[in-house]
Symmetry: C2
Amino acid sequence: MVKKAESIRFDYNNMMSVYVGAKEGLTDKDINAVKAKAAEAHAYFKANRGTGMMGWTELPYNQTEIVKDILFTAKKIRRKCDAFVVLGIGGSALGPMAVFQALCHLRHNELPKSKRKAPKFYVEDNVDPERMASLLDILNLEKTVFNVITKSGSTSETMSQYLIIMDLLKKAYGEDASEHIIATTDEQKGNLIKIAKAENLKTFFVPSGVGGRFSELSPVGLLPAAVLGIDIKELLKGAAFLDRACRKGDIRSNMALAAAATQYIAMNKGKNISVMMPYADSLRLMADWYCQLWAESLGKAVNKKGETVYAGQTPVKALGVTDQHSQVQLYTEGPFDKVVTFIAVDKYRAEIEISDGCEEYPSVSFLCGHTLNELIACEMEATEYALTKNERLNRRITLPEVNAHTVGQLLMFFMLETAYAGAMLHIDTYNQPGVEEGKNVTYALLGRAGYEEKAAELNARPEKNPKYIIS
Amino acid sequence: MVKKAESIRFDYNNMMSVYVGAKEGLTDKDINAVKAKAAEAHAYFKANRGTGMMGWTELPYNQTEIVKDILFTAKKIRRKCDAFVVLGIGGSALGPMAVFQALCHLRHNELPKSKRKAPKFYVEDNVDPERMASLLDILNLEKTVFNVITKSGSTSETMSQYLIIMDLLKKAYGEDASEHIIATTDEQKGNLIKIAKAENLKTFFVPSGVGGRFSELSPVGLLPAAVLGIDIKELLKGAAFLDRACRKGDIRSNMALAAAATQYIAMNKGKNISVMMPYADSLRLMADWYCQLWAESLGKAVNKKGETVYAGQTPVKALGVTDQHSQVQLYTEGPFDKVVTFIAVDKYRAEIEISDGCEEYPSVSFLCGHTLNELIACEMEATEYALTKNERLNRRITLPEVNAHTVGQLLMFFMLETAYAGAMLHIDTYNQPGVEEGKNVTYALLGRAGYEEKAAELNARPEKNPKYIIS
């Protein structure tokens, strides 16, 4: 039983006019006006959870057997290898990276082996040739296991990486190459499952109702986490805990619904930017994961009725206190176009005292005797205060501590917020039609059979005007 | 003499209505309408370069002696140490990181020493205690040199780090501690210069007319780069080359002015977001550096006449092709609120062929025989095409190759674009009044003498309403 004290907290006082001023702030009237819509979105969610593309909602509950297999496999990998490399992109990369960053040592790969207790970890989510070359420069292939992750089995970036790596492995180890690759993909559809069977690869499955950006709690995220020694049962428990806390369709008790509803109001007031600003290096990549979730889910040209809406709020990742020296000037004085979300941590997993010294310089020595922990906490509070005083909408999510349970909660919080917001906007939260054009054009440019028509369309483009090119 | 072919190129065809459509696109008429304003901004820049806070414009030309000292010092550091750590934040961190990422091996710190040929490199730009603890876990202090960088000498984050590190060094090495620290700060003002003299530290200076975000070409950036073995003379030559190419106040020939003027028009059309999307992992942190430059320089509440303007465009960093699987859905289908800047590279410093295999699966095997180089280039072109077809403003900067010269050009390009845009907006490009409030509140919260009034103001805040806090 998890104590109430270990729950994450959501505080939206600074979205409200009493705190942020009447010009920008929300009122209880604003909130009451969307109450019914929010309840409706929640009811829709409740009625459809676990079905269609909402299979992700049940991941905290239905994976007992899978978790056993993952833990067994992870143990074997940890024993035999010194590096674990995810080949994946988008949802197959951002979740694994975020959880790694949150729950492993911040300099994991640079720790000596004796202190590391898990393989080095790499997520290769780009096809820049310089990046692949760099990775190969430092890997010892013999001691490396690759986890190729693509639900469709046809992601060009990931399958290119697979072809390159499999070729290297086969040249080096012949039939034993398959010992170095694990495939995570759809159980039925796509090529990767067929290839995996032909090559005799160990496989894990992305359930059919789980899209890339909602897949972190599936084997996509659980296998890498388990290999790294992260307590994946706690991660799932945390997600379940938050999910259960959000079972009511009531803004006053359901934190994810309160978050979605207030963002919805803010969007309607023209706040087209959502800044996610954790005050913890460990949560830096959680902001990246959120950025995909929020952008791809809500950025839609049409709603479910087919009406043109051009919906979406642009997520921006920031890091406290670092970006106080980069972005906060703009957040404080620029256009009133943002909601800033602070992510706070009550208790960091280290405490560092600021040493004595510089006694002659009061503008330095006032720091002495304080801890970095106090400094980062005060700076967050100060930034919150300054934004609020300047009438800038902001809200705060607090983790009592960063651990597998609270990270599970945070993942579920953002997924629920996104699902509710999508339902309030009446859009399809789970598709991504806007990326198809780019894929097809890439196929055409690479001369793939069947894309001749697209190639012709490209050739018919107007020539670029040299007057708009300067060198 | 640099050949014309080695110049970076700026292409804004896809900002224009002929390409991106009449609804969103700019016309020659739009451009003509701001021509005079742009010329005026350029004239202002030209008249004031090298004066006041525009000292940065002369850095490519006036550092011959300083460069000698930097190279001499860097050589000594390279000989004696295995890790070089920058303690700095904002402008003291983002430039050094960007140039490191651009011009060193992408896995520099993980290369074996024999292949690395320069110390490991760390930039500590946060005060998260977990991060400091992680760094100390992996450093061998005896073989480490710290470069503490703060122009004012009173940046709380950096001076806290300094106190902690100096204490550790003194305990370990007594008087020799000073051998492990180099200070980069103002030559006259602030505490760090006094401390450096008292502690007998080697020092470098940030010229008084050079603000943090414009300081990468000063010793702030040059020393770390030189320690890493980067050709800093080429970096400066590249910057000078671009600067000279932008000497005319004419949009047709001055690429930075064309960039600024078209962004200015876009801002006036409501594009409040500027996405910076390099298609190269090596330029990923260049986008972070740009984000500070653009946000802090243009995000201003008042213009030079004291009129309230709430100016600014929110910069967003993205990475191609990675963020095609995270952000491009939103860019293609969401609100028409962005300008997307692609950064392309003609020739990567590695070539990787996609190996043969999977012959039975045409949706995979079409990739075989192509290179990752072709794939990334085609994906960029495809994304550009898809955005343009969906009437989304975009523009492209191309580097013939990523090297010290082109990186110097790119840095200067963005600094000039920012300077021109700030002048067109009639704002003070070089101040950051909006961060003062947060600093003062931090002082008050930490109980610094002299901030009692601010502490009283804080205590008078309305209590948070528990109804807006959910756990």
